[in-house]
Amino acid sequence: MKESGSRLSRRQFVKFLVATGLGVPLVSCQGEEFPSSQPSPELFAGTRVAVESEEMVASPASRPSPEASPEMPGTVQPEAVASPPGGGQAYLAVARGQDPKAITRAAVAALGGMERFVRAGMDVIIKPNICVDYHSYEYAATTNPEVVAALVELCLGAGAKRVRVMDSPFAGSAESAYARSGIADAVAAAGGAMEVMNQAKFRQTEIPHGRDITRWPIYQDVLTADLVINVPIAKHHSLARLTLGGKNLLGVILNRNKIHANLGQRIADLVSAIRPTLTVVDAVRVLMANGPTGGRLDDVRVMNTVIASHDIVAADACAATLFGLTGEQISYIKAAAEMNLGTLDLSAIRIEEITVS
């Protein structure tokens, strides 16, 4: 039995080899760096901002296209940046009415229809706000399911290959939050697919335009999808004052509590990295206090409004007016405008207001 003595038998050698082989990849893949919080303003060409922002107010058609600028290497951008509004298309649409689906469709139609954004065969991601799994959508902590469903239908109708809907809640599992919000059922009925975000696909991503943060773990599919539609619900937040389109993007990153240290600028930096092609603000039921989690119907005000624009800054600025505020007063809207990510000057853009009866 013990003849082999202290010599390494073949079996032992193979065991050792397998163990080492398993161990090496495990050790080698742990080296994810912690996100840098060092400001690096040199990455952002300040003078260029000023020039372009004048241009943009004058003519939205010249929306900056960072891919084309050689002085900003390594830009991470969604491949499809929406075409600016053409003739007869509104820059921003505000639709009001009893039926959330109808006003969503009306708002998108005023922008030129979903065909303006979606081309046949596109891979679309819709990012609603499903921040917690506490209450159903009536409590206005999560985006209205009908608004999301309408967008799914519009995308599929415009020829999208697949439409995925996702968010990562900060409390409760994604699955239970999807179910409780009512969005899971609505999306399934509309033909879309709910997806639980895969932790392995949050990867350190350069933010070349970032003024405060230049790297952050971002969900890769949001960067690689053909089209990202941002569907925040307008609601109260004690630090940001309001949760709107910019704040909604915290659902596609990790370490979101580290954003709060410089919320305004950091959200603007994220907007520069993610650049959703279309932003649809759900203000059908609005949470006025005790946000962003809610739980009291007394805090909910029914506004029956949907705001849509390709310009996230303009959409957020317009939504702020529903609360009697301006975009200037919301730190992240102001910071995003300063970075030329959109305009908060609502008087300079073509807004179409629609009432659906």
């Binding site: 039995m1 398993l22 990849p25 495990l26 080698s28 893949c29 742990q30 917690v132 799994d133 506490y134 900060f170 409390a171 409760g172 599992s173 994604a174 699955e175 239970s176 409780r180 997806e195 639980v196 895969n198 932790q199 392995a200 696909k201 990867r203 937040h237 004690s238 630090l239 509590n257 580290k258 709060h260 240290a261 919320l263 005790n290 962003p292 989690t293 809610g294 739980g295 009291r296």
Partner: protein, 506 residues
């Protein structure tokens, strides 16, 4: 049926039951805590059911399943051990092959008594209302090990491998498919982390190592459930018998995993030690060995020298009583520990007496906030669950732990009841809190507070900046009447290391 078919059948039954155990384990998660009755094996276990009923002074649901096992034992002997017990099966599979083991080194026969000592110890403790050592039960050992060590380790390995391969973008297509179709359904949300995973794995490894000393070491010498079923097996109707035709070739003895076939007794065995594995049938060339019904000439099996005596019983009971008293005077028991936060509803019952330390709640907790305790609640509360909010809060929309608790130690609260049941109270540490201590803006605890009207109020605070300017900030204060101690604030607090807001037992 031939001897070989019986053996094959037994091995098949073992595999089926181990598989069933694993399916039930994997199937139970926070969304479907009770899918297919995840606690089936706990309810099969008579030792757990008896002690939980006696110590907890409650009628435990599903008690009759344990009665089924008792009945099986009275009919066929220790078939639970040889055919059904998933821990026994696992140890059997992990045991070195019989040929390679030296038979000389087996421990003395007297060691077989240890399991009875442990059994009497546990039963007396249960009478006195203590379950502090019930973690020696085989089902809880297996469940805790799988839940806190093996499964998390497997998930970690798979997840890290996945992360590694995600570096290569061309693999994303198949990886996405694997993730959403296989890995996510299997593992669900967060990577489980358990403070005592390694300790549990080492204890299990110890049992496996003992297999090298003697086959079925745990089942033979230590297992208290084996002791209980062994005593009943003395009365069993089906027993192993050796007929006159025996040629004393000793081959049956060589096949016996519990080494109970005794050459000096004409190769008869002790029904209390025999696990009815029927391996001995294979060895017999003259078909002298068989399992036969004892009716109508039934007599209780012979009492062996290693079997418990009245002295054993009294000594174990006495020691148990002394131990129970010593545990009762621990400060953790008399005073409670401020950081020992129990799952929701556990405060409303005599938790320590009802909890069987099985780890079912640890398995389903979606945030991994429930952790097994080592010394935090005193020795008396070893392996009981406690909430560590910094690792994971008590999820506002989850009551899974109460759903799976097999003994009602964690009450089966409805979601509405659970949401209003306080398990602790949050406390702001103003020397660490960003606005209070450093004048830095932060409202994360208030933001995440799940209470509809918020259990954290933001106060206006005036602070001086470095440049001497006055700045207004919001700073958190806990509203005692509303806080339920879920710990989401502690979990999300961005202060590194220990949180600036912490939950303590209220």
């Amino acid at each position: 049926m031939s001897a070989r078919s019986w053996v094959r059948m037994r091995r098949a039954v073992q595999a089926v039951f181990l598989l069933l155990y694993l399916i039930l384990f994997v199937g139970a998660n926070s969304r479907y805590p009770h899918r297919f009755g995840a606690d089936l094996f706990t309810r099969f276990d008579p030792l757990l059911m008896i002690t939980a009923t006696v110590a907890g002074r409650v009628w435990v649901a599903g008690l009759w399943l344990a009665g089924l096992v008792l009945l099986l034992t009275l009919l066929f002997g220790r078939v639970w051990c040889g055919w059904l017990c998933p821990l026994g099966t696992l140890l059997e599979w992990l045991s070195p092959r019989r040929k390679t083991r030296s038979r000389r080194s087996a421990p003395p026969q007297g060691w077989r008594r240890i399991k009875y000592v442990i059994l009497f110890f546990l039963l007396t403790a249960a009478l006195l209302g203590s379950q502090s050592l019930i973690w020696l039960d085989p089902i809880t050992i297996l469940h805790r090990t799988v839940a806190t060590a093996f499964w998390p380790a497997l998930q970690y390995t798979v997840t890290e491998a996945e992360r590694f391969f995600y570096q290569f973008r061309f693999l994303w297509g198949p990886l996405d498919w694997i993730h959403h179709r296989v890995l996510y359904p299997l593992f669900q949300g967060v990577q489980p982390t358990f403070s005592l995973g390694l300790v549990m794995a080492l204890l299990f490894a110890g049992l496996v190592l003992l297999e090298r000393w003697a086959e079925r070491f745990w089942c033979r010498y230590l297992c208290p459930l084996g002791g209980l079923l062994g005593l009943l097996s003395k009365l069993a109707l089906l027993r192993r018998e050796v007929s006159e035709g025996c040629v004393e070739c000793a081959r049956c003895a060589q096949h016996c995993p519990t080494d109970t076939i005794d050459a000096s007794r004409h190769y008869q065995s002790d029904p209390a030690e025999c696990i009815v594995c029927v391996e001995c049938l294979i060895g017999c060339r003259v078909e002298a060995v068989g399992f036969r019904w004892q009716l109508p000439r039934w007599r209780m099996a012979e009492w062996r020298e290693y079997d418990p005596t009245r002295r054993t019983l009294l000594t174990a009971a006495g020691a148990s009583a002394v131990g129970a008293v010593l545990l009762a005077i621990e400060p953790g028991v008399t005073q409670g520990t401020a950081t020992l936060i129990r799952p929701p509803g556990a405060n409303l019952v005599d938790f320590s007496a009802r909890c069987i330390r099985c780890g079912a709640c640890l398995r389903v907790c979606p945030t991994q906030g429930l952790q097994p305790s080592l010394w935090e609640g005193g020795v008396a509360n070893l392996w009981t669950p406690r909430l560590v909010p910094r690792l994971g809060p008590c999820s506002f929309s989850c009551n899974a732990c109460g759903q799976v608790c097999p003994t009602g130690a964690i009450l089966r609260l409805s979601l509405a009841e659970k949401r209003s049941t306080a398990i602790g109270l949050a406390r702001v540490d103003r020397d660490r809190c960003l606005p209070w201590a450093y004048g830095v803006a932060c409202i994360v605890c208030e933001e995440v507070c799940p209470i509809a009207a918020k259990a954290i109020r933001l106060e206006e605070l005036e602070v001086q900046t470095v440049d001497g300017e006055t700045q207004r900030l919001q700073a958190p204060r806990v509203i005692k009447e509303r806080c339920i101690g879920c710990g989401l604030c502690e979990y999300q607090c961005p202060v590194s290391g220990e949180a600036a807001i912490r939950v303590f037992r209220s």
